[in-house]
Symmetry: C2
Subunit: 527 residues, 2 copies
């Protein structure tokens, strides 16, 4: 029977080290005999403070009270003096401050989940009502986001190695023991699982665990190649709708708590383009708002071309009650975030652009003439005449997206490469490309279907293509800021294989960033 | 022609004091001659640094550079020594740190707006790209939320007293000059407005301004009675949808930036019950999430009664990526927040309940017997039998809501008072009440219609009434926490005229709050 679910212990496995070493250092700090604290905590067998807190009969702050009373009694009985600074809470606080998530093991859990395994945290854990409970909340929140299931003993009134909790986990996973792998750092907790027929891994060093887990699961976990990060699933995220004026709203996806990072996608894309970045930014402590840009998907698409000028889009009041955000944009979103940084700097905490460089508008050459002189911008002129490009791109939306959103890897190349120059001469952006290109490595399966649905709803005209149809208004507006500098922290990320927005376009750009300080590791991070 | 729009200046009017006194104290601190800074700032007439920054030709950080250069030149020319600590930015930073919003004037603007006036901020303002720009962002965000329109000179390239900016404002407000009142602290800025036919108020002391504004607008602004705070409008807020498991989502309204405050309404209500609290909490620096509780309105209403037990509702994972929130609940929402504080304390930063007290479950008396002994809980037994109360309450939803959601003021009383005891005996909650009661003072007009629409969608059964149908499961669950204390900051607010949850029910409750410290001003605020 194939393995299809993995149970991970928390303390000493996903998060380490566990409590024991911190009890030990507390004993040393307070000049208590070795194991003094553990003796008090486990005294009373199934009615010990430890057993009670793990079964949720008492909370963590009640454990502290019981322990302090128990320690006083045990100290008196064994002729030991408790120092005035003695505190049980301190051991727990140290664990929170010094412990860390086992990153390779968490990564392995993500890889297993992406490969169809059900992943579950099965932990003897306490109800944390202590002053340090934000640590617990943050850790559990991380686990809830990255595992299918989190089972805590304190919510159930039973704990490992009570066989009932393993049965509970099997029911919750709808799995047979033979389908399950259990990881724990306490041998005693593995025994009942083994007897039921689960495969078990006694956790010592991470590398050995990963090897055993790789063998048991058949999934490569020790690979040198960095796997894709966790992506978010459109059906399992918070969707928001912010009205920007009567009858016009923007759709967004929101996740996390902390300073706001606002993500602005490009053409022809979706908030889902940020699916790998959203959970990573949340893990890093940010509140992420991934916008669906004006005219795209579920955001309103007013018909007037002027609605999509940079000036109009930037003057949108900030989503209600959010004075300032970190702005990150790609492609058209990149142009937008530079304009926000120049025209509405008070609303920008920091700014980052992928691929799209900033360059001040040049009053000496008409923008249309300037753009015409750059062969790879030819497609933008093809996009100008309302009705033309939309007819081509809307004809077969699946084909359009498969043709335009591809990686540059060999296996992803189409028989005829899509070119962004000589588009007008060829009579269309997709002319010469296969009628039914294979799905690309970077957009396929349910994600591709999600993109297709969004463009079926919004089309390409109002919104997507109209962003291109404000060449002169955008230039005139930009001219009024041509002498300004970008004064907030700024990051420019270039992509060597971008055919249109080539890295050489960002050369000299640092001149326009007032806090520019080159560093070999992060050549473009100004803070 | 009746007045119907008011233009408010910002610096020295809505926010004070303006820049001038801070330039003065900077001059004193740096031992510069009086008016030294203003002379430099205004030198050059319409091409002065001041004029340029107000027209958006330069940004605030560019103003600092030009001013520092200008001050050096002027110092040399006039034989003055600039101290090494000299900084123009400092005057602006002081203004941000020491200035305050004119609260009575802002309040007057809100009252005017609620009475149908268009309100507009018309300010000579700069593009703030300085290190202190968060102050500007926060102030402008506040103004955007409380005024219909915000017009800044720096976005338009024109400034007061240029008549063009007044014409622009009239166009934006679609108003004639005779319909408009302008408030400014600079007489010169009033002149063109007067010439056009606007009524003008020269701002000196706030009381005089309010008197003049009251006379000109015909709206009472100097009343002793505190007016209602700003309410949010369902059509003009961000709506979010968070999936809590496959096929089940909660609807919420979200506003603001900062620590999360989550609002939980009661029976039979809506997130809109918090319409007055939401903007106030946002102004106080919080991110507010006002939930529509499970089974209500746009939140999913699964049919199973067990779905509405406190245990089931509390175990809902926190909205994605939000580890901990301040929880505030009313009525059933109050019961919920106490349970969250006891069972999931790590997810609760602080807790507050309106009307619903906490009292640990009593194992010695069956909950049903106990509830039967309290006459005002009779309605809860009427609610038990599926199909009965929903038939009565759904028959005429408008009547139900008008009858149940009323103030206790004399003018709001119905001919027969709704009673919560003897409901079973009378054969229904609404028996004896008028068929078409007048709308109440606390819920009428578009808000009442919004409530009606939500209950037309969700009905009363799955959701609203099912919350009552878990009496014994809720009791059994609560018993497991009967010895716990509420360890986080807690606030209990009682309502003297609540007929069911009377203040005397919260007597002795402080025993269950571990950080209780009575204070005469805030008898129940524990921090």
């Amino acid at each position: 029977m194939a393995r299809r679910a993995v149970l991970f212990d928390l303390g000493g496995v996903l998060f380490g080290p566990g409590l024991q070493p911190f009890l030990g250092s507390c004993e040393r700090d307070c000049a208590l005999p070795r194991n003094f604290l553990w003796k008090v905590m486990s005294a009373g067998g199934s009615n010990s403070p430890y057993a009670k807190v793990m079964r949720g009969q008492i909370t963590l702050s009640q454990l502290f009270s019981e322990m302090e009373e128990g320690c006083r009694q045990h100290a008196t009985a064994s002729g030991v003096t408790l120092p005035p600074t003695f505190s049980v809470a301190q051991a727990f606080e140290e664990m929170a401050a010094k412990g860390t998530v086992n990153a390779p093991l968490l990564q392995a859990a993500k890889v297993l989940r992406r490969n169809g395994f059900k992943t579950c945290v099965l932990t003897n854990n306490w109800v944390d009502d202590s002053a340090g409970r934000l640590f617990t909340a943050t850790l559990m929140n991380l686990l809830h986001r990255h595992f299918d299931l989190v089972i805590e003993s304190c919510r159930l009134g039973m704990q490992k190695p009570d066989p009932k909790i393993y049965t509970y986990a099997l029911d919750a996973l709808q799995a047979k023991p033979q389908e399950v792998i259990l990881l724990d750092d306490i041998g005693e907790n593995l025994k009942p699982a083994q007897e039921m027929g689960m495969a078990t891994v006694l956790v010592r060093d991470t590398e050995t665990v990963l090897k055993e887990l790789e063998e048991l699961s058949g999934i490569q976990l020790l690979t040198q190649q960095e796997p894709l990060p966790t992506a978010c699933d459109p059906t399992n995220v918070t969707h928001g709708y912010v009205p920007i004026r009567h009858g016009v709203q923007l759709h967004f996806v929101e996740m996390g708590q902390g300073p706001v990072v606002c993500l602005c996608h490009g053409f022809p894309e979706s908030w889902l383009s940020w699916r790998f970045q959203i959970p990573a930014l949340v893990d890093a402590g940010f509140r992420v708002i991934a916008l669906e840009m004006k005219g795209y998907g579920e955001s309103t698409a007013p018909p007037d071309i002027k609605e999509y000028s940079q000036e109009q889009i930037c003057k949108t009041p900030s989503p209600q009650g959010i004075p300032q955000t970190v702005l990150i944009g790609h492609d058209w979103g990149g142009a937008l975030v530079w304009n926000m940084a120049l025209f509405y700097p008070e609303r920008v905490r920091a700014v980052a652009s992928l691929n799209t460089p900033y360059r001040p508008a040049d009053p000496s050459v008409d923008i249309v003439e300037r753009m015409k002189s750059i062969p790879t911008f030819d497609y933008q002129f093809y996009f100008q005449e309302p009705g033309v490009a939309e007819a081509e791109l809307e004809k077969d939306i699946g084909r359009t997206l498969k043709a335009l959103i591809r990686s540059t890897r060999q296996e992803d190349r189409l028989p005829v490469t899509s070119e962004f120059h000589r588009v007008q001469e060829r009579g269309g952006l997709l002319v010469g490309l296969p009628e039914n290109p294979p799905a690309s490595q970077i957009l396929h399966g349910p994600e591709l279907q999600y993109y297709i649905q969004r463009f079926q709803k919004s089309g390409f005209r109002y919104g997507p293509l109209n962003w291109y149809r404000n060449m002169r208004p955008n230039w005139h507006w930009a001219l009024s800021a041509k002498d300004r500098k970008i004064t907030m922290p700024a990051l420019m990320v270039t992509a060597g294989k971008d055919k249109v927005l080539h890295p050489n376009m960002s050369k000299g750009m640092e001149e326009w960033v007032s806090q520019y300080s080159p560093s070999p590791a992060q050549p473009w991070l100004c803070s």
